[in-house]
Amino acid sequence: MGVQGLTYLIVGLSFALYIGIAIWSRAGSTKEFYVAGGGVHPVVNGMATAADWMSAASFISLAGIVSFVGYDGSVYLMGWTGGYVLLALCMAPYLRKFGKFTVPDFVGERYYSQAARTVAVICAIFICFTYIAGQMRGVGVVFSRFLEVEVDTGVYIGMAVVFFYAVLGGMKGITYTQVAQYCVLIFAFMVPAIFLSVMMTGHIIPQIGFGAELIDAAGNNTGVYLLEKLNNLSTELGFAPYTDGSKSMIDVFCITGALMVGTAGLPHVIVRFFTVPKVKDARISAGWALVFIAIMYTTVPALAAFSRVNMIETINGSDQKGVAYETAPDWIKNWEKTGLIKWDDKNGDGKIYYAKGKIEDAASPNEMKIDNDIIVLATPEIANLPAWVIALVAAGGLAAALSTSAGLLLVISTSVSHDLLKKNLLPNISDKKELMFARLAAGIGIVIAGYFGVNPPGFVAAVVAFAFGLAASSLFPAIIMGIFSKTMNKEGAIAGMLTGLLFTAGYIIYFKFVDPTANVPANWFLGISPEGIGMVGMVVNFAVAALVSKVTTATPQHVQEMVESIRFPKGSGEASGH
């Protein structure tokens, strides 16, 4: 059976599994739809959280980005894992004790205000839509290469599958489906990494092979460390050394911070900790989630380094002068068809050659344009791994994109049916009606997400970075102050959220959409890029909130008592919506 047939088989089997689980665990009540009945074991919840968390961007793009930028890629590795420490220590246990369904629920009650709730709902919906747009695109990219259909057709198939199990199963269905998706995606990610590690360094654990000496074809140590080799190759081709990076320190600092804080402020991640039975479980659940995430995230930089050495040697040949196009491996031609690899024989010698610089720049010797997004997807082909590994990676990429999309859709539908309708516009609707509206909102959400998937506003990772900046500067400070300050009042919180959101969104929109040519370090505020500005937005939020709360009315007594009561676990009930 060829790659094509195997891909259909493995992807088809995995889809059948997800849908089967969705039917088996169909949600019967609004409560099951929102929080899986509160009866999810911490390890299971951790695994589902990890799948929810590891998006198409993590699976498809991350290793590629790290591979191209080396040390600078650390911002994503530390940023997307470090946020869980904040979640576990500063948020999860208290929000679980609070015991409601959603982030706007908390903001609305803690700040005793419909206005605060509405601001939080808008932030949550906005963040989720920004985030989900990147996911649907990811689905399209995977389908277009492996099933050889148009990217748009791929998006439509993905929409249909997500619609089916998110709308039917709700949180309960999603939780169990995500466990299956985690297993598929982690297996798919680890297999090529282990293959490469064994081939290149003789170590079976990629995290160790990452720091080891390279071996030759006969399996003997060459005495050259992988990272040493990579630094040499990088400098020869005109890049900065792999382990040094080229971003300024303040920018690396702020991007890492914005991603950490943003992670802790993402509604679809926070809502996970409402689904465990006890406060105790909320604490450990975040730990398990991070274990499952770290298995992949510590492998990412290893895979990035392996595939970079592999890719450079395949394109430039062992003599570092380039390889004749006719004899070049098939993967280059396969990916050229999707437009994600381009070759321009600038010196007319009929050889492909990769170096620093843009392909359009006549002065640069570089003749190749290689998209970040293909590194993970093409690695099995680059390293000549068996066909089933290629098929498996396709299934893994889809699992990552689908699990995250489903989690996000659920937050969108909950925000609309529960926070906007039930708690705001139509307080008297019945449970059944609310569930119907939730499903309707999920359906509309998918259509909008699909539209962005077909007409993407930017490439996957940039869009996702936007979502993090907004989460960091709006929801995170409001939640933290709600728990750790008894005196923070509604005026302060609302003013903080709005200024944080407007400042961050304004900065990002200006540099990314209004005037992209001005998006260079010289024009940035303190040298901080749009990706890192969420960190400044967060500080602005905290400062404005503190200032405004000083000059406005004090927090009512019953709210102060509520804050005191969420600070210890005793008496935590089941999560409830009323």
Binding site: V66, Y71, G73, S74, L77, M78, T81, G82, Y84, V85, L86, A88, L89, C90, P93, Q207, I208, F210, G211, A212, E213, Y225, L226, L227, T243, D244, M249, V252, F253, T256, G257, M260, K278, V279, K280, R283, I284, A286, G287, L290, V291, A294, Y297, T298, P301, E564, S565, R567, F568, P569, K570, G571, S572
Partner: protein
Amino acid sequence: MGFENNDKAKGYWRENLRLVLGLLAIWAAVSFGCGILLVDVLNEIHFMGFKLGFWFAQQGSMYVFVALIFVYAAKANTLDKKYNVQED
């Protein structure tokens, strides 16, 4: 109210904050400290085939993060029992 008296409630929260802040200090030290601010200094040291600063940024910090959460969960549970505010 879950506490026997007000002093107990204050004591519990103070100890909880001390625990959280202590762990967050380690969190910041391995990531922002070793992985970013001190990366050039630490890169002079070699560790298992890595430059140490680079290792912290792409491996070490993540291992420490995982450990921190488990330490927190264990210590917070002990603290709950000490003040008798654990769940039934």
